[in-house]
């Protein structure tokens, strides 16, 4: 799943909570925010792999922090470029890829799927990090448009394309349906993810709310601040879920 600034499918996140899904393993590409905090607080999550989980300007992710502090979920800390690199390896179908930097961080000690190795092309000593490819079971995100050919348009949010390429299945919600085939349009095509990678598409008007879709609606700062306050306690979080997630008639965003 993508970070708060890159169109998580909040509509599906709310539905996962309403259906009481359990034991999900979340991968943040490369970080996570509200979607992860909601799923963790609702007890849907067994493990998180991410470079960070935060509510950005609204502060710490309270349900995530408490769950890790109490040992209720497993946390696998990552580094942003290592997540991107592992997914790029998967999209190329190679078992691993090298990445500069990161050496000397305690992250390396914790990750059995990262190895420090000698650069095979260097005649002198040159340690470099190898990260194992990651192929997520499911990629889940929201898109501005889908079209009749089954493509999705995400614009410059190209990490969403990388997730779709690397994942075994990709599920996309979208704001609006466009007639025709966006890949036939020279202006739109660079922001398109081809239907070849997409498993299922579903309409969800304002499906990223309370997060934003660039050029359509902005992140709802007031709502995020409200959530950050409410979720400081389990009781406040439960009330938030009742009000905004688990009541069928309220599980949609205000128009």
């Amino acid at each position: 799943m993508p970070p708060d600034y890159s169109m998580p499918s909040m509509a599906v996140v709310r539905e996962l909570i309403a259906q009481r899904k359990r034991n999900l393993r979340l991968l943040g590409v490369p970080v996570l925010g509200l979607c992860a905090d909601l799923l963790i607080g609702a007890g849907c999550v067994a493990e998180v792999e991410s470079s960070a989980v935060s509510l950005g300007e609204a502060g710490l992710a309270p349900r995530f922090s408490e769950a890790v502090e109490k040992g209720e979920i497993a946390m696998r800390d990552a580094s942003c470029p290592a997540v991107h690199t592992a997914l790029q390896a998967a999209e190329k179908g190679v078992p691993f890829m090298p990445l500069r930097g990161v050496l000397g961080s305690d992250l390396v000690k914790q990750r059995a799927d990262w190895k420090v190795s000698q650069n095979p092309f260097s005649p002198t000593e040159d340690a470099i990090l190898y990260v194992r490819a990651i192929s997520p079971d499911v990629a889940l995100f929201h898109a501005r448009w889908a079209d009749e050919a089954g493509n999705a348009w995400v614009g410059r949010r190209r990490e969403l394309a990388t997730i779709a390429h690397a994942a075994r299945r990709t599920l996309v919600t979208y704001e609006e349906m466009k007639p025709g085939d966006m890949l036939e349009d020279e202006i739109l095509a660079p922001g398109v993810i081809s239907a070849a990678y997409l498993g299922a598409l579903a309409p969800a008007k304002r499906g990223a709310w309370p997060l934003g879709v660039a050029g359509v609606y902005d992140i709802d700062d007031a709502h995020l601040a409200h959530y950050a306050r409410a979720a400081r306690t389990r009781e406040g979080f439960r009330k938030y879920l009742e009000e905004f997630v688990c009541t069928p008639e309220k599980s949609f965003s205000p128009a």
């Binding site: 970070p3 600034y5 890159s6 590409v29 490369p30 970080v31 991410s50 470079s51 960070a52 989980v53 935060s54 950005g56 300007e57 710490l60 992710a61 995530f64 922090s65 890790v68 502090e69 946390m75 800390d77 990552a78 580094s79 942003c80 470029p81 290592a82 991107h84 790029q88 990445l99 500069r100 930097g101 990161v102 050496l103 000397g104 961080s105 305690d106 992250l107 410059r156 949010r157 190209r158 990490e159 969403l160 394309a161 990388t162 660039a214 902005d218």
Partner: protein, 222 residues
């Protein structure tokens, strides 16, 4: 008179050196202010604001920042930490039983970027520790700037050196790690009249677009 934020921003502008490209991460209003102050005097500087509310400096998704930094196309970046230790390691993961968001891309950026400036406003033994509980990232910083002092980094000795304090007084009681210092420690030079004019004029206007609360608090801009 100047505010503490204005002083810190003017120090950051001096620390940038002769950079061509600077990136500023999320929740960094003071580094952003320093960068825009520098840009007023050096308009050719490329500034990549990574979490702009509108727009974005990249078109290849969030990996593009890391890829261009890895190529050496980024000269200055800012990192902070829940803890920073005397070996210039930073910790963004956990401290005193509390969990923090995580390391983001710090382990990579610290080594990829030409000049990493460590910045943390809080200067206390809680933040500036002898040894971090978790090493998120390790590297050779250009400097460590706090709300009380400016340190340079002695790469060969792997030890900080106190360059200046923002107000007269000994910062040792507030600093959990040991460092080198001269018998007489300089005072951090305040922002010049010209710098203050720029800060309160064009820089404040630019900052208010991405940090409205900060601009309102420091300059009363609405």
């Amino acid at each position: 008179m100047h505010s503490r934020e204005e002083l810190l921003a003017s120090v950051i502008a001096r620390l940038i050196g002769d950079a061509k490209h600077v990136a500023v991460g999320a929740a960094s209003p003071i580094p952003a202010t320093g960068v825009f102050l520098y840009k007023e005097k050096h308009p050719e500087l490329r500034v990549s604001m990574l979490h702009k509310r509108k727009g974005n400096p990249f078109s290849e998704g969030s990996r593009e920042l890391f890829d261009l930094a890895g190529q050496g196309r980024l000269d200055v970046f800012f990192l902070g930490g829940a803890q920073i230790d005397g070996e210039a390691c930073i910790n963004l993961v956990r401290a005193e039983g509390r969990r923090f968001p995580g390391s983001f891309g710090s382990a990579y950026m610290y080594q990829a970027v030409g000049r990493t400036i460590l910045f943390r406003e809080e200067h206390s033994p809680r933040v500036l520790v002898p040894k971090v509980e978790f090493v998120s990232a390790r590297g050779d910083p250009a400097a460590l700037l706090t709300g009380k002092a400016l340190f340079s980094w002695q790469k060969a000795r792997r030890r900080f050196r106190l360059e200046s304090v923002h107000e007269p007084g000994d910062v040792r009681p507030h600093t959990g790690f040991t460092y080198d210092q001269e018998a007489e420690v300089a005072l951090t030079p305040p922002p010049s009249a010209e710098e203050l004019e720029l800060l309160r004029g064009p820089v404040a206007q630019k900052i208010s677009a991405d940090y409205p609360d900060f601009a309102k608090r420091v300059w009363g801009i609405h």
